[in-house]
Subunit: 251 residues, 2 copies
């Protein structure tokens, strides 16, 4: 079996709970202090019939040399990417379906943090270009705290093509762009399907995608310091969408 | 001169622009492609009479072995911490003065990203405990994209003491706590001084600080996935404060 590794207690727990990946085995450091999370991993692994082995910590350090494994590594099947057509079809009855499009984000930590925020904000899918920016790797999975298992990850050859298809299928496209005139909180995001585009750390959103967008929004700043980290910017806009939806539900 | 290093193009540019640190020298890699940012660094360094040297990239790799220096490292004086009493005194006429208190945040990337968001959101000060969590190090400065130079960093021995002092000085204390009943957007943050407490990644805010808080707020989620990254949570609450202030100003 082709496999990838995920590491860190939360990432492994989330993957076990999501139960949509094939596990080869879980390696736990001999010297890992047993805690609630380690116990939870052992319990879930036993339930699902997954092998777990206690090994010397040096073995884990070999697999993940940057020492962020927290004493736990799982060898599992790579994340399954979803096809955009399938995603649209599966969600055709989802009320207020939302996707986030990452246009060339290059930092795995940012990608992971955005995926985590997306899951918390009830976003159904993440769209990544197959040739620009990062795809799902171990760092993304770790930083997402396992959230990558709880959302559809859609890989496309052309973001322009994807955006056109979303528009044809009744999605409204919102671009986060700091040159925009509208503030992000002036758009009413309720009662519609949304596709939010976040651009690369330095270069922003590509011109062809900006042109296709229905709304361009900026996050107004109280100082003119350069800009927000892209994962923080995504969180701010996504949770404004949540705020509006919660308000509408009377919460 | 005792010095620290900062690295990365943005971090160095911001430190030069803020011009509140003493520079020993700036090292630029021989093989760094000259671009707008490198040119800006040379221009600012020349203006300020700061020595810059072209060196072999291996020299930079020795100083910052994780390869995130982007070809630029500056040796500068450590960040100056501000005293809480001085901060309160200096800001006694600031309208809607706001500070963010980091209660034991352990990850330098999170601390740096929070500082960056704070500067964008017009926050005046960051309060860090001297003995728990990270202080300002090179990774924090890099992740903050240099924002650490544009805000007062206040180091205190006791967060409880600091919160009591802020309350005596007319600050309203808001704790981000996912057990809270109120949603973060249900508080009116305008026309008051605020102190927002963000808790450690795993353990949250300590009980003694929660008890002292005037408001406890949660960020409602649309799924029950565990939780947001702490820097994203901070950005969401800080920019709700900005949203309210902008609305009040009619923007």
């Amino acid at each position: 079996m082709e496999h990838t590794v995920i590491y860190g207690k939360n990432a492994v727990i989330e993957a076990l709970e999501a139960n949509n990946r094939e596990f080869n085995r879980i390696l736990i450091s001999n010297s890992a202090r047993s805690d609630v999370k380690i116990e939870r991993i052992k319990e879930l692994a036993a339930e699902l019939g997954i092998i777990f082995q206690f090994v010397d910590v040096r073995k884990l350090n070999q697999i993940e040399p940057e020492g962020r494994h927290q004493g736990v590594i799982a060898q599992i099947s790579p994340i399954k990417y979803t096809d955009l057509d399938d995603f649209i079809e599966e969600n055709k009855d989802t009320k207020e379906c939302s996707v986030v499009i990452l246009d060339g984000i290059e930092d795995s930590h940012n990608t992971g943090a955005i995926i985590r925020s997306c899951v918390c904000a009830g976003v159904q899918g993440i769209i990544l270009p197959s040739r620009r920016g990062v795809l799902i790797n171990s760092t993304v999975e770790k930083t997402s705290a396992g959230a990558a298992n709880n959302i559809k990850i859609i890989k496309v050859n052309s973001l322009t093509g994807a955006v056109q298809k979303l528009k044809e299928n009744n999605y409204w496209v919102i671009a986060s762009d700091h040159h925009a005139e509208d503030n992000y909180y002036d758009i009413d995001y309720t009662n519609m399907n949304t596709a939010l585009i976040m651009g690369a750390e330095h270069s922003g959103i590509s011109r062809s995608l900006l042109k296709l967008s229905d709304f361009k929004v900026k996050i107004p700043m109280l100082t003119n310091f350069n800009s927000l980290n892209v994962s923080n910017a995504a969180a701010i806009i996504l949770f404004e969408m949540v705020r509006q939806k919660m308000k509408q539900r009377g919460a």
